[in-house]
Symmetry: none
Subunit: 404 residues, 2 copies
């Protein structure tokens, strides 16, 4: 990004505090009967009052028309280019279940699969075994395999046939071909290093593949081996402290978002599970940090369920709890989402979504409500999500002049 | 483009159909007496009703302030970066007259010129000979020169002193210096290969230059030789089938647009010459394709003529015929132009022009008419032409999520 060329010369450390509120999947589409979106239907006196005193706009999460997953959606909100900085599937799987992945670790999505004695993959999902059975198998394997060639191997149950694997050790790199044949009735594909630095990883995975097959021979389960997918490591990026000179806290309830926040160097606050608890945590931690990422999950979940009314309710609930931040002093506050999740589509979508930036230095525009169509009229116009961090830094007066 | 990095992983084939209606040069400027643009003056009940139910915006054809020719204007609408993907002048000349140019062919714009026996170019346009005389000369040359060094040579009359030349054969590349001295009173410039792969092309053109001079010595005409310009070949790009998994039809009346559509792999429907015929063709072909590019030419032609009233009339005519698509089912429809052609300027211009996207998943905004000033208030905001294809794919649900 062009920002990377400019930022190191102009970023400065100041006392002002930034609050980034992400209402996951908050953008929506009109209800066929009322013609109103979820945000337009909800009563949100706090957000609306804030919009009245803010600069508003619409965000494009990645590129026009592109629907982001949670990874790219948040990486962009944290000020990185989501096309340049892609978080591998293996890493995302680990982050999603809260499995620890650190710099230089290799993270992998695993499928338990049924494999014939001749090495043919006959069921890539081992009959979708129950999560409990998965846990039992993982515990058997974990007991027998702790280390391979000096590399620590950790396996975690995800759900049904899915698990996550983390390799920790020196000299590992992720450019390794996957053994998943993608179709049933085919043999396991050979695990091959695609470059020199990845040779050790390939060796470890070949041995892991063999040993798991060996162990599962003696276990009464359709799971007879492991398919390795999305072999990846953390992206090599500067974290918030180095990039923005910010001391950042992540206030979130779900592992995925805590995980992505950790990738960019935020301190992750644990033990939170309600919006109320999150707002309380923000108040408690106010003195300790100068950047807060506050993530509200359920707006997305109800959108994915296609539950328009529940999404409206959770927006109203969020509005009520967020109103407690009144009186707290921030150099700049942004409220937006990582993408839209219209109940109508029951999935993430590409639609631009509302953004407001509140700051003593933001021009209030004509926008009276925090909704898609109102914010479309705002003074910020269309903003790429990856630009928001730089706006927050600017509005909280943390950026010097560029050039003389 | 960043889209190229994402698209292969998320594009999917579905049954939904896309319609891209391009009203060439439709954008305009206010009439000095009425203060209204061509679109604002025209009565367009169909387009206005559609705008009322669509997401609207303004398109920037290439970059702010840049006036595009038809090539870049359409290449952008087809989802390619018009700065990266440039169609050479020779290729455009051939496409414009419907001369067949295929992958690996070399296409050239030719000028018949007056050249003295000493090889000095005394008139770069051979006194602008009549098109009829051009045709006569082309037929004499074509009879005597069919092939040079195994390369098939085809010459086509364009207009007055202008012709187009296509070289077809193996081992050709277009990096060859032109023999046009650009000024009169100077000798023909030497034809030189600028890289190794273009050496054969240079040899063929040197021989063609000599043989044409030899042939024209015996003909009673001021045309005594050929200047070669815009030596080029088709851009090396993925077509619609590979890039978008779309089976695309071009419904257009003019060779230039059919030509550009062919470059991106559309099937070109021949024999059309009215808007009514084009809309009928759309109905007939509906089952056969899942992407339709419908091009309306005359809005541009009357703009170029400076004929404000005729442009208004043709917009009204287009509105009437387009209204026949009511009731046809599309996943997404876009209506826009490739650029503005204000009658006031009698030429293409850089002004952003109206865009609307109609789809079950498009939020209707406050826009009530398909005009420049109304669409400027739309929820899509400013959209680069090259983004429109990706929006159409998104709105017709042909794109999967990017990242997990």
């Amino acid at each position: 990004m062009d920002y990377d060329k400019i930022l190191p010369g102009i970023i400065k450390k100041t006392d002002s505090k930034i609050l980034l509120i992400v209402m996951d999947g908050v953008g929506g589409l009109p209800h066929p009967e009322t013609g109103k979106t979820e945000l337009e239907t909800a009563k949100t006196p706090f957000l609306d009052e804030m919009a009245e005193h803010s600069s508003c706009g619409l965000t494009i999460p990645v590129l026009s028309g592109i629907t982001p997953g949670s990874g790219p959606g948040h990486i962009a909100l944290f000020g990185y280019d989501p096309v340049e900085v892609q978080i591998g599937r293996g890493v995302l799987e680990c982050l999603g279940i809260g499995a620890p992945v650190e710099k230089d670790d290799i993270a992998i999505r695993g499928n338990f699969a049924t494999i014939s004695p001749e090495g043919i993959v006959t069921d890539r999902r081992a009959g979708r075994i129950a999560t409990e059975e998965n846990k039992k198998i993982v515990s058997i394997i974990s007991e027998k395999i702790k280390e391979i060639k000096g590399v620590k191997v950790s396996i975690y149950t995800v759900k049904e046939h899915r698990c996550a694997i983390v390799l920790k050790g020196s000299g590992l790199a992720p450019s390794v071909s996957e053994n998943d044949p993608q179709k049933e009735g085919l043999p396991l594909k050979p695990i091959t290093a695609l470059d020199k630095p990845s040779e050790k990883t390939a060796e470890v995975l070949r041995e892991l593949e063999d040993r798991v097959i060996e162990i599962l021979k003696g276990v009464d389960t359709p799971a007879k081996g492991l398919l390795f997918r999305g072999i990846s490591k953390l992206p090599d990026i500067k974290g918030f402290a180095e990039k923005y000179k910010l001391n950042a806290a992540c206030i979130a309830t779900y592992p995925m978002y805590k995980g992505v926040a950790k990738v960019v160097g935020m301190d992750v606050i644990d033990g939170l599970d309600t919006i109320e608890g999150e707002v309380d945590a923000l108040k408690e931690l106010y003195d300790k940090y100068n950047f807060f990422f506050l993530h509200i999950k359920k707006t997305d979940s109800y959108g994915e369920d296609g539950n328009f009314d529940a999404k409206v309710k959770i927006i109203e609930e969020a509005d009520r709890y967020l109103s407690k931040i009144k009186g707290m002093k921030f150099g700049a506050i942004a409220v937006t989402g990582d993408h839209s999740t219209p109940a109508l589509l029951k999935s993430h979508s590409w639609h631009p979504l509302p953004l407001m930036i509140n700051s003593p230095y933001a021009i209030a525009d004509d926008v009276k409500r925090f909704t898609e169509r109102e914010c479309a009229k705002g003074i910020l116009g269309k903003v790429y999500s990856k630009e928001i961090m730089y706006l927050l830094l600017a509005y909280s007066l943390k950026l010097d002049k560029f050039g003389a």
